[in-house]
């Protein structure tokens, strides 16, 4: 055995040799690990989206007055824009960010009216089946490409190809073509007087830039005709925009905009208070109350256009055969199929108390899913006010008395209220109100990941009483009616693309005829009259009911003023 002495420690040779080999291996592995790390870093290091070459300057530029100090507005959002393919996703926050860069043929005015965007005029023929659209001249994309009719055709093709987020919008569009560089003709598959409302949602992308390059290219070359150009995009971190100096219309006041993605509400509020951001969306009610006392922040709120919608399945027999929490009634019949029972349910709920306690006052009571100001809003709908005695009377007369024995002892019948996580408190409160009039109600909270699967029509049959919310930013209640009250018989859809969210399976031929008539009526007032009639019938039938409209709550730093929009879209040009 050989011994050597090193650093005052005695080693046995064989062990020493093994240690040397071990050390060599470790060093090699560390070097390998570092190399892999560097390579992974390089491979993964994605160039942040390249800033676009600015369009060539306009000839004979007008002399600018002395430069105003550059202003940067930092907005805190709850989600990231996720993609620059404007057709892949339909979500309000993402849509709003994209609409800074891209534009549609028709823009949405502050009062929700149609404003000429990339189209200067649009006209339909007699029966609203063919629309002729004249396009704006002299518009260029951020990279200098000229905007022409072919871009519109190209964009519509891409919507159909992407097939997910916006494909609904193309439902009534049969075919389209470019007649010349500044004219597009759209032929509808069914008379659609409301096509302009749909056109507001479809932004236009550049054919010249993306032709032949596949949808992936939309993420790389982000060019539109909008008021702002994309400077930098770091996924889930921030979107940096700068004003488009060659914009065809009125340029916005603010030159630089940064959208920061801060999903955690607490962090977003903290960022606002520490003045790291100038604006935050979706402030929750408790933070709003706290912020009202702070000097450097203003709390701004406005009723949103989306109202909650309580749906009850109206069919003879078992309304939810696949439910884990089925409906129970003494004689096996479906009480929700009885109109008076539905009215009783509405009358059992004290909306004002609900708003005060659950929403801390940040909501507006409503009995219509259609917001005021929309075409078709009917201000004279019968109100089913809070009246538990009347509710109990209706239930007794409908043939559902209080049971004195059996599994429903102490109640009339048992139902389940399916709802999303965010409505949990409200649903628990409602179950309480219903219990007081003798309706046993189980509030069933559905996790976000499974809720849409669960409430799916014609597939799942798992719900008989549920609450979601519905809105349509187009300002036309005909579009809301088309989706929510057009007949949907329990076993099979009546008409494709209609009644897609009529989860109560409400059926009424008269309503169907009126809705189709409205969709074909170009005259605003005539359409308004027809739709008011529709909502009157629906309300008399208690096909569904709404309790209140949430308020959208925002926090704004003192450097800026913000006017909230009715549709909840956040645009940099609404700040000053």
């Amino acid at each position: 055995m050989n011994l050597t002495k090193e650093n005052g420690i005695l080693y046995i040779d064989s062990i020493k040799k093994r240690r040397k080999t071990m050390k060599k291996i470790l060093v090699l592995m560390l070097i390998a690990a570092m190399l892999i790390g560097v390579l992974a870093g390089c491979a993964a290091t994605e160039e942040p989206v390249q800033p676009v070459e600015p369009a060539p300057p306009v000839e004979n530029p007008v002399e600018e007055p002395a430069e105003v100090e550059e202003k940067t507005l930092v907005i805190g959002l709850s989600t990231d824009v996720t993609t620059w393919n404007p057709y892949a996703r339909n979500q309000i926050t993402a849509n709003a960010v994209q609409k800074h860069v891209f534009e549609a043929l028709i823009l949405v005015g502050d009062d929700m009216s149609h404003v000429p965007g990339l189209a200067v005029s649009w006209e339909a023929n007699e029966d609203s089946t063919v629309w002729t659209i004249k396009l704006r001249e002299g518009v260029t994309f951020h990279n200098g490409a000229k905007f022409v009719a072919d871009d519109v055709v190209f964009s519509f093709d891409r919507v159909l190809e992407t097939a997910i987020g916006w494909v609904d919008s193309m439902a009534t569009i049969g075919s389209y073509r470019a007649i010349d560089d500044t004219t597009v003709e759209i032929t509808c598959s069914t008379p659609d007087a409301l096509l302009p409302a749909t056109l507001r949602n479809l932004v236009i992308i550049s054919k010249e830039t993306h032709e032949g390059k596949g949808l992936e290219n939309l993420e790389v070359e982000v060019v539109g005709t909008g008021k702002y150009e994309l400077v930098e995009y770091l996924r889930d971190d921030k979107v940096v925009l700068k004003r488009n100096e060659n914009y065809w219309g009125d340029k916005p006041e603010i030159q630089n905009v940064v959208f920061r993605t801060i999903p955690n509400e607490g962090t977003r509020t903290a960022s606002l208070i520490s003045e790291e951001i100038d604006f935050s969306e979706i402030i929750n009610v408790r933070d709003a109350q706290m912020m009202e006392n702070l000097k450097n922040i203003k709390v701004v709120s406005a009723p949103s256009i989306s109202a909650n919608m309580f749906v009850m399945v109206q069919v003879d027999g078992d309304p939810s055969p696949n439910s884990d929490y089925p409906l129970l009634s003494p004689d096996g019949s479906n009480p929700l199929n009885n109109r008076d029972v539905r009215e009783a349910i509405v009358r059992a709920i004290d909306v004002n108390e609900l708003i005060e306690v659950v929403m801390s006052g940040y909501a507006t009571p409503t009995n219509s899913v259609v917001p005021e100001g929309f075409n078709g809003y009917n201000p004279n709908l019968t109100k089913y006010d809070f009246n538990p005695e009347k509710a109990m009377e209706l239930l007794d007369n409908a043939g559902y008395p209080m049971q004195t024995s059996g599994e429903l002892e102490g109640y009339r019948f048992a139902i389940t209220l399916d709802h999303q996580e965010r409505n949990a408190t409200m649903s628990t409160a409602i179950a309480g109100y219903l219990g007081r009039v003798g309706i046993k109600c189980y509030p069933n909270t559905l996790a976000n990941a499974i809720v849409w699967d669960h409430v799916r029509m014609y597939d799942s049959y798992k719900c008989h009483f549920l609450v979601t919310s519905w809105s349509n930013p187009a300002g036309e209640s005909a579009m809301i009616a088309k989706d929510t009250v057009y007949s949907a018989p329990f076993d099979k859809a009546k008409k494709d693309g209609f009644g897609g969210v009529n989860r109560g399976y409400y059926v009424n031929e008269e309503v169907d005829v009126l809705i189709e008539q409205a969709l074909a009526t170009a005259d605003y007032d005539a359409r308004d009259e027809i739709m008011q009639q529709v909502w009157k019938i629906v309300n008399e039938d208690v096909a569904h009911f709404s309790l209140f409209r949430n308020d959208n709550i925002y926090g704004v730093g003192n450097d800026f003023e913000y006017t909230p929009r009715t549709d909840g879209y956040i645009y940099a040009w609404d700040f000053n």
Binding site: G8, I15, K16, R18, R19, M22, K23, I25, L26, M29, A33, G37, V38, G41, C42, A43, A44, T45, T82, T83, N85, N90, A163, I164, G165, W166, V167, D168, L215, E219, L234, R235, D236, D237, R260, T261, I262, P263, N264, G266, T267, A270, S271, I273, S274, E276, N448, A449, I450, W452, D453, R456, Y458, D459, D483, A493, D496, G497, G500, V501
Partner: protein, 321 residues
């Protein structure tokens, strides 16, 4: 030696196969991602079209085999939500996560070991009592709470440090990192400290316990009587003998940090992998979840491997074969 490496590599492949199997089948039980992607009013036809597009119409075992085949080619599927390769998305966020992990681990090593050695060599001093009290807090307090307190204290009240987000990045050695600028460091500090506190606390306690036991050994007394300098005794002799359990725990912590920084990243709006994971789980983006879990499993296996090698270096008595 090479037999050892070969054996471990085989073990790694087996582990990854099992993990991929479990991950794949578990994510396919919960919910249908299609309904989260199509508009509520989509017709059955449109839904079927998307199902076909995503390859979800094939029977589950077939989907699994396709998944394996692609995985062997380095393709872990395309994210449903982002429509880009899943692995690419994960690697894109890797540098951001590694930044806070790197700083957190450095803090853990430096502070954990030095404070642990001090506490172990002077068990009765007042400073030691302070350190041990602090470490108890570090272990007991949940990281998300600590994170929010830091934000409130340093960000909102004192205004010394930014509240959220990652700082400006520069490129060092070809890697995009925010550690190159002072502003970048102000963003990195709070999340890293939040991550590190629990780990530092564990390491302190472990090192201290080990040191206290070792200091009683004969060879320490012998070294002292020989007149060896104090530092040399502590770090050269005593510490080395306590390192085996420390290295094990350190390896586990490192794996956990890299793979599961989810909560800290969410609180500090740090654009790392953890946030990607939690978002993908809620939106049922299976390709990212599968790819991520496989990545985490591979990571743990590799780290364990390195730890075993380290054992042999630290303690020459250990024979790996």
């Amino acid at each position: 030696m090479f037999k050892f490496i070969l054996k471990r590599l085989t073990q790694m492949v087996v582990v990854l196969l099992i993990v991929s199997f479990i991950v794949f089948f578990m994510t396919s039980i919960i919910g249908n991602p299609v309904y989260n992607m199509v508009p509520e009013t989509a017709t059955q036809e449109q839904v079927d079209h998307v199902i076909r597009q995503l390859g979800l119409d094939k029977p589950l075992p077939v989907q699994y085999l396709i998944f394996l085949k692609n995985a062997l080619n380095g393709e872990f599927g395309r994210s449903y939500k982002y429509n880009r390769p899943a692995l690419g998305l994960i690697l894109e966020r890797f540098p951001a996560t590694m930044e806070i992990v790197f700083v957190a681990m450095t803090l853990t090593i430096v502070l954990g070991i030095s404070l642990g050695v001090y506490a172990g060599s002077r068990p009765k001093s007042k400073v030691t009592k302070l350190i041990m009290g602090g470490s108890l807090l570090g272990i007991s307090l949940p990281s998300f709470w600590i994170g929010m307190v830091f934000i409130y204290l340093f960000g909102v009240t004192l205004g010394w440090l930014p509240v959220s987000g990652r700082g400006p990045t520069t490129t060092i050695f070809g890697i995009n990192t925010s550690l190159g600028s002072l502003k970048g460091w102000t963003h990195v500090i709070l999340p890293s400290v939040t991550l590190a506190l629990g780990n530092i606390a564990s390491i302190i306690r472990l090192v201290r316990a080990g040191m206290m036991e070792v200091m009683k050994q004969d060879y320490i007394k012998f070294a002292k009587s020989k007149g060896a300098p104090n530092n040399k005794i502590l770090y050269g002799h005593a510490l080395k003998n306590t390192l085996i359990p420390v290295v094990t725990i350190f390896g586990l912590q490192l794996g956990g940090l890299i793979a599961f920084t989810t909560i800290t990243e969410t609180i500090f709006a740090w654009p790392g992998m953890g946030k990607l994971l939690i978002d993908s789980i809620s939106s049922l983006d299976r390709p990212i979840v599968s790819a991520y879990l496989l990545f985490a499993a591979a990571l743990f296996v590799v780290i364990n491997f390195v730890v075993d090698i380290l054992y042999a270096i630290i303690d020459p008595r250990i024979d790996l074969n």
